[in-house]
């Protein structure tokens, strides 16, 4: 009886647990088949998410980067930004639709211009670390062992064969074709490894959910570390 009173959603803490379990059950019902309950929660979910975004991603940004600088600090030049950005809203008009492309062009130009820095930051350090792979044991690299050298050879070989697979502008024939096939096999090793490695993280999530149902909702005493 005590258990039942504790179990029922009679206070705010229990209500929160019940809502959480209800949400979980509704989402999991998709596994059986698409159904009205899932559909209800799906629409609620999207509605909630859309409503939530307006706070931190719309009001907050406009307030922080537009309202504050103009009305708060008096930087009047910002006034032009929002009307300019609102050219985007012409998208729904057939006659004026092209005007939105001015803003889209700005965005495309900016993302292209920003890519140079991204390319340098993201890919060149990787290229550089590929250089630091001694291929045989020399006095210049005293810490390098035979095992390291083997690993480095493997690294360069896999890198080159996979890169070969990813060339497009000529017909891959003969030796090149064989190297490219090898590259694709190495690629499959990498993909298999990522698959295997990701499973645990996903299982951990599911276990977390099931633990929540068993422990928080059904209040089963699971290994509460008595010592």
């Amino acid at each position: 009886m005590d258990w039942l009173i504790q179990f029922l959603p009679l206070n705010i803490e229990r209500i929160s647990v019940w809502i959480g379990v209800l949400c979980t059950a509704a989402i999991y019902s998709l596994l059986y088949r698409e159904n009205p309950i899932y559909r209800f929660f799906e629409h609620m979910y999207i509605g909630l998410a859309a409503g939530y975004s307006l706070g931190p991603l719309f009001v907050d940004i406009i307030y922080r980067y537009w309202i504050e600088p103009i009305w708060g600090q008096g930087y009047w030049a910002w006034a032009f930004v929002v009307p300019y950005g609102m050219y985007l809203y012409f998208i729904f008009s057939e006659r004026y639709g092209w005007i939105s492309r001015i803003v889209i062009g700005t965005l495309i130009g900016a993302s292209a211009g920003l890519f140079f820095q991204e390319f340098s930051s993201r890919y060149l350090p990787q290229l550089n670390s590929t250089l630091q792979k001694p291929l045989w044991v020399t006095s210049a690299n005293p810490d390098v062992t035979g095992w390291d050298v083997f690993g480095n050879f493997l690294f360069i070989a896999i890198l080159l064969s996979v890169l070969t697979y990813f060339t497009f502008s000529y017909e891959q024939r003969g030796g090149v074709k064989r190297v490219a096939t090898l590259g694709r096999w190495f690629l499959m090793i990498g993909l298999g490894a990522i698959f295997g490695n990701t499973v645990m993280a996903r299982m951990a999530l599911l276990i977390g959910r099931i633990y929540y149902i068993l422990s928080d909702w059904l209040m089963l005493p699971l290994g509460r570390g008595g010592g």
Binding site: N197, M200, Y211, L214, L220, L222, R224, G226, G227
Partner: protein
Amino acid sequence: MQSPTIWQRMLSIDRRLLYLLLFVNIIVFLIAPIRMPASISPPVQKFYDEIEKLKPGDLVMISSNWSASTLAENQPQLEAVLIHLMRKKARFTFISIEAQSRDISYRLAERLTKTHGYEYGKDWAHFGFVPNLIVAIKGMVNDLPATIKEDVRGTPISQLEVVKGVKSLKDYKMIIDVTPSGTVPIWISYSPKGIPILYCPTSVMAAEAYTYLDSGQITGMITGAKGAQEYEQLLKIEGLGARFANAISFSHVLIIVFILLGNFAMFMNRAQARREA
């Protein structure tokens, strides 16, 4: 049209059956108290030994940065470590890097401390979350009260008995980082020298940490649910670690078994087709 053979039926198995099996499999291994004696790995042993050195009243900073998505790995770690700290009568304060990990660690600590007679504010406290860990650590090294200002309950830090007289992070005896993300290099780089750092990563993050262990920049490490299981064995308690470790392991076993079954069915089906042809 003849009825499908058992192999054909296995190949086109209703996936809902697979889903049910996985669900039940996890429930069973979470509930069933199966114990597999684990061999204690050296980093876990070092972790244990380091906490054993603590004296009653020593202050420990726990950086807890996990949330629901890595609960199965990080929660058993934190529970086992907290139990050990409370056995040693050490005092501790929490800090997180975002709101959800703050809430989850605060709730967990509240629950566990109650059963050990620890009192909030006197024996432990939660400092809430800091948006930028680097800035926060640098600030705490200089002037801890000015950086934190108030705890998670909104109490000014000057009124918390647990950090009475604490000026800086240097007054702490130990830092423990329970995390699924790359926060430990930040603690290593910015925390005061001479304070041991103990690390509780998820399994994915553990491989990268061995260099820090080698160089002594971190003193001990508990890896995922498996590490927590070893730790529970050292503490001689029945905690969540063993259950979560089992649930993780056997969900993988289930998948592997079905991959093998699928292949077996495929071969049998082919063999049968060949025989009939």
